[in-house]
Amino acid sequence: MRITISNGEIIDPANNLHQTGDIFIDQGRIVGVGQCPDNFIAEQKIDASQQIVCPGLIDLCAYLYEPGQEHKATIYSETAAAAASGITTICCLPDTVPVIDEPSVVELVLRRSANSQQSKVFPIGALTDGLKGKALAAIDTLKSAGCIAVSNANIPINDTEVLRRALEYAKTCNLTVHLYCQDGFLSKNGVMHEGIMSVRLGLSGIPAVAETIAISRALLLIEQIGTRVHFCRISTASGLSLIADAKSRGLEISADVSIANLHLTDVDVNTFNTDCFILPPLREEQDKEALRAGLTNGTISNICSNHQPHQSSSKNVPFSMAEPGASTIEMLLPLTLSLVQETSLTMSQAIAALTSLPAHIIGAASGNLSVGTCADICIFDPQAVWTVDRNKLLSAGKNTPFDSWSMRGQVTHTIIDGNIIYQRH
């Protein structure tokens, strides 16, 4: 179908573009930006006046729970929530049941997401067999089946020898490793950041060194081996400075941060609020500020949702009995936009953190509005104000720490492969 998106404020960081204009779509691809192609007659027109038109958002970390935990959420429910939030690509983690450590599970995820016809899903495969941290997964087979990276999800690889060999093997197969860094022994039993708040609440804490020790260990191995590694969901100022230092020495690494860690701290756990029981833990104010600065200065590339929906029975319990995770995917865009008001992050940088930069990390062709690219596009009203109501979330998970927060920025259209998948009424 031929579509014209007219008069929108186009922000395409990949092409350094920020101007008002039209976008032309045909047969699932962008065929014109600004300039109308010859003989182009639109079958559908979208009036994007007063709105921003940008590449569809790319979220490098969200839990879809299918296969195996469909009582929590399904590929359909979460990709639909994502599509309504401007997200056109989601990377799901391998800790499904069964684990994404063999091609049949990859094929299942790809087939179910294709059938859902909502956001695209790019699966991240397991780094170790069963995510057990002992034997290598069949990384090359997973890559051929469609995995865009490998990871051990949130499960620490305590055996340093295994981590070394896994990094070597992933390099051999030319696949990026997404590494979540937390020392398994120091973080065992921890349910929040170890600090003043955890002492007051009498809750077992995860010290900052659990992250920095794991990052240091990984960096030293990467220096030796040369694997391309993406450090996921950094939560500490000290961990961030290790990443910055390694980047300045020329290591081919990148890092992201979860949206919750840019807005919340351990103080938000104050009244044993289980919606703030998240991994990585919400750390201190100075960590939050450092992460924001890291985004602005480029140490952090992209922002992910770290979306983890849960049923109320998993959260409506005393704090340590709850399951960790927050429902955040529907707030990813407005919470990123609010950083433009609250920090020195520019609008273009904010959009880049959700589009061109994550695309680059996973080697996706999308995340930009170049002519010839697949038409994955997000159109949003940057001035629209709305209030988060947990009961009205589209996600199967109502466990959001942002309940009652005021959001500025609301998606009006989401286009995936040239089809209007979501339209706000």
């Binding site: 007051r200 409506n316 009995m321």
Partner: protein, 320 residues
């Protein structure tokens, strides 16, 4: 939202009793004064008052306890309440549904008050957030977080012997890391205006950031006890210790046990307290337990009066 948003109602009165954190001196003194009136009752021949007649109090103990449960039962019975004591099964696979379901069932039976003891921090807050508006919750100890009634009875005991809190140096000795008693005591002592609170123990049992609670850590017992007025000894909570926090054997007693020699470093009129149960030869020497300045048994008997006062107060009874 503050930690007190559940326990204090809009009129500034106690609706639940979950933590001593945020309880100001005026309210603490009210509770202590009210408890004084119950001390004489427990010494009478007929030990009952009808304040809670017709009310049902349920002890929900998810963690084993003889002493605390017995004192709460006695306190409730002496207020003429009907008492239910429920031993909830403790299991690593225990799911939240069961607790929520139990609560709803008990509420359907029109219980007026729950006394809760649980292995997990925040459990009493959780229960208080679930119950309907006419039901009251008292925290009998939740994980490592709080044991507010113990702190109140300790303040009561101290006040009976050393009424001027502002001049006192108090030392709390032992497993501060896992101690809900220590945390509740620290908040209460600070509200009462104690000039110096020390925590004494090995580094592994004293959390980083403890100074943020307004206390001074000491890792040498002999330094920490000098000139102290009140010594509060804690039991080693081995059941909460998951990792390499202490060597086995007698080393803990060698470094941190309260012996007569160490007791002599404190002021000559210093008092000794312990929430119990005591482990002779582990944290405290038998000779010291039997010393006339050891108030351990007084704490037990004051505990009943204090709990009667708290229960009566949160059920809405003004001070006589």
């Amino acid at each position: 939202m503050s930690i007190n948003h559940l326990q204090i109602n809009e009129q500034g009165r106690l609706r639940h009793f979950l933590t001593t954190e945020g309880i100001d001196r005026a309210l603490l003194v009210d509770i202590l004064d009210y408890a004084e009136s119950f001390v004489t009752i427990v010494q009478r021949a007929v030990k009952k008052v009808p304040l809670l007649r017709g009310k049902t109090v349920a002890n929900l103990f998810f963690e084993p306890s003889t002493r605390t449960r017995t004192t709460f039962e006695l306190a409730a019975k002496r207020l003429s309440a009907d008492v239910l004591s429920l031993d909830m099964p403790i299991s690593a696979t225990q799911k939240g549904e069961s607790m929520a379901d139990t609560l709803h069932t008990l509420q359907a039976m029109h219980c007026d008050m729950f006394i809760v003891r649980h292995a997990y921090s925040g459990a009493a807050h959780f229960i208080a957030s679930q119950v309907s508006s006419h039901v009251h919750v008292i925290n009998g100890g939740d994980g490592c977080h709080a044991h507010p009634t113990q702190a109140i009875l300790d303040m009561f005991t101290i006040r009976r012997h050393k009424p001027d809190f502002t001049s006192l140096k108090v030392a709390i000795v032992g497993d501060i890391l896992h101690s809900r008693v220590a945390r509740s005591e620290i908040y209460a002592l600070r509200s009462m205006g104690v000039s110096e609170i020390r925590v004494i123990g090995p580094k592994t049992l004293i959390p980083d950031h403890i100074e943020s609670l307004g206390v001074y850590p000491y890792y040498e017992m002999n330094d920490g006890l000098i000139d102290v007025d009140v010594i509060i000894m804690l039991r080693l909570q081995r059941e909460r210790m998951h990792s390499a926090l202490l060597p086995g054997g007698h080393e803990y007693f060698q470094r941190y046990g309260l012996t007569e020699h160490r007791f002599a470093l404190a002021r000559s009129d210093a008092i000794i307290m312990h929430p119990g149960p005591i482990n002779r030869g582990v944290e405290i020497d038998s000779a010291v337990v039997n010393n006339k300045r050891s108030l351990i048994l007084q704490q037990v008997s004051y505990g009943i009066a204090v709990r009667m006062a708290i229960m009566a107060m949160i059920m809405g009874h003004p001070q006589e």
